[in-house]
């Protein structure tokens, strides 16, 4: 430790340096800087004026955009991490190898920023440890969700340790950490299974408030299946984005395997989506909900089922059969949008369907902006990780 750092002159020089760097950064990244600036401002508002200062949440709709986007969508889309890790380590699908770390890193950041988002969402975030360590309400679906977020974050962190140790040059520790890969992949998959279905069970208890077309006793299963295919589609989409913007951090192997990974994911997504579609249609008939199909909600339901489930299934059928990578990628995007639409439908659009329109909720721009702010932070963190750590490439010392 160099104590000279603390002297006034050096500090001044540092601040000056920092100012110059900051100015240069703002000049080069105008949009990102604007988002960060406004986001920080809104964060200050949230913690000085309370939740009411930045959101339209009210007593009838205690969970709004944050819950739908940050928690329900965010966690579903983060499922790719454990799916890819399990595919590679447990089921031995070799060509997923170069993707494992990328998927784990995005999942870890997804969960990490989900916890950050919780600081905005709950009224007293400093008490978030109470349910885990002080007074666990074990009959609550939310308890299970919280427990899984906590455990999974730890598992994901340990799963990423090899990359961290490679970056830090700790050879022996890295070897020890790699040794656990399979066990951790299994543990991660188990926690993720419980976690995703627990999210689906959140709305079981609110049955009178959720429109029958979206309420189902099978919501835990539906959420689980859809999260797996959403996660795999996110692997495809992350691939598209990473190839566009982070290619300089990739190695040959990663680039070479990309198309194979897209096809494998496409195949898995295709099968899972058929099962999902099947359950939803059976559900529609078994719960006697066909009567609602002619209403406005029914039309919207059909848009979701036909446009965002049946259509990608059809496109994937062609895409995977004829090995048309582009088509598979397009279906992946539609699928992810469909899963997000489903989560928004369950938690906002079909929620409180009984209430008159003027008592219903619509998000404020500030709520949406805080989520955008958090996603931006996530992307920056991911970029930093890829730049510093061997995520999209193998470390030179450990190649082969």
């Amino acid at each position: 430790m160099n104590f000279k750092l603390l002297s006034a002159d050096t500090l001044k020089a540092y601040v000056k340096d920092y100012k110059v760097t900051l100015k240069a950064y703002v000049k080069d990244h105008k949009v990102i800087s604007a988002i960060l600036f406004v986001g920080l401002g809104l964060t200050m508002l949230r913690f000085t004026l309370g939740i009411a200062g930045v959101s339209n949440l009210d007593d009838n709709t205690p969970w709004g955009f944050w819950m739908s986007f940050d928690l329900l969508c965010g966690v579903a889309l983060s499922a790719g991490g454990c799916a890819v890790a399990a595919a590679y380590h447990v089921f031995g699908i070799r060509h997923f190898g170069p993707q494992v770390r990328a998927a784990l890193a995005t999942a870890f950041l997804g969960y990490f920023f989900e916890v950050v988002a919780l600081q905005y969402e709950v009224g007293q975030p400093w008490r978030l440890v109470y349910p885990l360590f002080w007074s666990p309400g074990t009959r609550s679906a939310l308890f299970l969700v919280g427990l899984c977020v906590f455990l999974y974050l730890i598992v994901l962190f340990i799963e990423l340790l090899p990359a961290l140790f490679e970056y830090l040059g700790m050879r022996t520790r890295r070897t020890a950490a790699v040794h656990w890969s399979v066990h951790l992949a299994v543990a991660g998959a188990v926690i993720a299974i419980i976690h995703q279905s627990a999210l689906g069970s959140l709305y079981l208890i609110a049955q009178p408030k959720v429109h029958p077309l979206w309420y189902s006793d099978f919501m835990p299963v539906l959420f689980l299946i859809s999260s797996i295919f959403a996660g795999l589609c996110m692997v495809i989409i992350e691939g598209i984005l990473a190839h566009k913007y982070l290619k300089k951090y990739m190695d040959e192997q990663h680039i070479k395997n990309a198309d194979k990974v897209v096809l494998s994911c496409g195949n898995a997504v295709f099968l899972l989506m058929i099962s999902y579609l099947f359950i939803r249609i059976v559900n529609l008939i078994a719960d006697d909900n066909i009567q609602y199909l002619t209403t406005g909600y029914g039309m919207w339901f059909l848009v979701e089922i036909i446009g965002f489930v049946a259509l990608p299934v059809f496109l994937l059928f062609i895409g995977t059969r004829e090995k048309r990578i582009r088509l598979v990628k397009i279906s992946a995007i539609i699928t992810v949008l469909g899963v997000m639409l489903n989560r928004f439908n369950v938690s906002i659009i079909a929620f409180n369907y009984n209430l008159p329109p003027d008592e219903r909720y619509s998000p404020s721009w500030m709520e949406i902006f805080i989520s955008v702010f958090l996603v931006t932070l996530l992307l920056l963190a991911y970029r930093l990780m890829c730049a510093k750590m061997p995520i999209l490439k193998e470390h030179d010392d450990y190649t082969g």
């Binding site: 913690f47 000085t48 004026l49 309370g50 939740i51 009411a52 200062g53 959101s55 009210d58 007593d59 009838n60 205690p62 969970w63 399990a86 447990v90 089921f91 031995g92 969402e121 709950v122 009224g123 007293q124 975030p125 008490r127 978030l128 109470y130 349910p131 007074s135 666990p136 309400g137 074990t138 009959r139 679906a141 939310l142 308890f143 299970l144 919280g146 427990l147 656990w180 399979v182 066990h183 951790l184 299994v186 543990a187 998959a189 188990v190 926690i191 299974i193 419980i194 279905s197 627990a198 069970s201 079981l204 208890i205 609110a206 049955q207 009178p208 408030k209 006793d217 835990p220 009984n354």
Partner: protein, 369 residues
């Protein structure tokens, strides 16, 4: 090491379930039998005149928590607008104009203190509890502010102080639990001038409600709201008109917590079974890989052996062929030499033929042979 991780993961989930085993079992007993001596309140809309005295009484008793309202309690103009409970009031009275009735009908809104409360089951920090006496009470010292109770409540009762920064809390009627415990009445019941509110044991109130319906069948629709709704509530309602017209949603008789009652058990089962299945899949895959590897090794060895044998065989054939070639070459050379000699001799004979004749020709042929 890995085994220890697994075990600890399992035990966290398992312990969590054990901690609450008592409550979990209680969910299976019929709700009304759980606390047979629990108190409740009966609200009779046929008697209610919408005077808001109950609201005033509630505020007076909870003056430490609830602020002065914007408009005084004797201002009845607020009834023109539909209201709900919020963080400044535990109870409100709403006015409903019903088709076919000249006079409006009033209904009081507050926590119904369900027999199987969804909010209690939803709370992940046990800040809400159902007491034996009937009230569902809230512990502000534990509340994290997740607001899942508000999501779960089918009656839209718990409210949140969204403007709070340091200590925002959930607000809802506690049925004056501390006062009930002392043998006093809830504030609203005490302040009702029309006896539209009756306090007592829930079973007695059900009898009272039926009695009123029997004596005045024309004044009531034959339905006690809260007797069965969502598994039954401590508060009960009788009214001169259909309850749906008073903003009371039709609810099934099954308690809402039952819908998600099994998830902790299911999670523990998953935590127990899934590692076995995944581990099994891994072991099968590894064995398959091992077999494939050993097969590959064997194949390589065989290929090498085959190649060696093939080379030997090839060498042998090549040698044989070479020998054969040599032989043919010799034969060819011999033949060639003979033909050459023969040609020479023939040429000589032809030259000699002009002088020698047939006899000498025959002789030359014999020589050649």
């Amino acid at each position: 090491m890995h085994r220890r991780i697994f075990l600890s993961l399992l035990s966290v989930a398992g312990l969590a379930a054990l901690l609450d085993a008592g409550d979990g079992q209680a969910a299976s007993t019929p709700p009304s039998d759980k606390y047979p001596d629990a108190f409740g309140v009966l609200h009779d809309s046929a008697r209610c005149i919408g005077c808001r005295k109950c609201e005033a009484g509630c505020r007076a008793r909870h003056a430490d928590l609830l602020p002065e309202p914007d408009k005084p309690f004797d201002d009845l103009s607020v009834l023109e607008k539909k209201r709900r409970t919020d963080y400044r009031c535990y109870t409100v009275v709403n006015k409903y104009t019903v088709k076919g009735r000249e006079t409006p009908v009033f209904r009081k809104i507050q926590c119904n203190h369900c027999l199987e409360p969804a909010c209690v089951s939803a709370c992940f920090v046990k800040a809400l509890t159902k007491t034996e006496q009937g009230p569902v009470v809230y512990n502000p010292g534990l509340c994290v502010g997740c607001r899942y109770c508000m999501v779960a409540c089918p009656f839209y009762i718990p409210a949140y102080d969204y403007g709070g920064v340091l200590n925002p809390l959930v607000y809802k009627c506690d049925m004056c639990a501390p006062f009930i415990a002392k043998g006093e009445l809830p504030a609203c019941v005490e302040s009702c001038p029309k006896e539209a509110l009756n306090f007592g044991k829930r079973n007695d109130l059900l009898r009272l409600a039926r009695e009123r319906m029997r004596t005045h069948p024309a004044r009531y629709v034959p339905h006690i709201y809260g007797e069965k709704e969502a598994g039954g509530t401590s508060w009960l309602y009788i009214a001169p008109t259909a309850h749906t017209a008073l903003g009371q949603q039709e609810l099934g008789a099954s308690p809402l917590p039952q819908r998600s009652a099994g998830i902790m058990e299911a999670a523990c089962m998953t935590a127990g079974i899934a590692p076995v299945l995944l581990g099994g899949a891994y072991l099968v895959r590894r064995r398959r890989d091992e077999i494939a590897a050993s097969e590959r090794e064997a194949a390589v060895k065989e290929a090498v052996d085959n190649a060696a044998a093939e080379t030997a065989a090839k060498l042998k054939t090549a040698a044989e062929e070479a020998a054969k070639d040599k032989e043919t070459a010799i034969a060819r050379e011999v033949k060639k030499a003979r033909e050459e000699t023969l040609g020479e001799i023939q040429a000589q004979t032809a030259a000699a033929g002009d002088s020698g004749g047939n006899a000498s020709e025959a002789k030359t042929e014999e020589d050649a042979r």
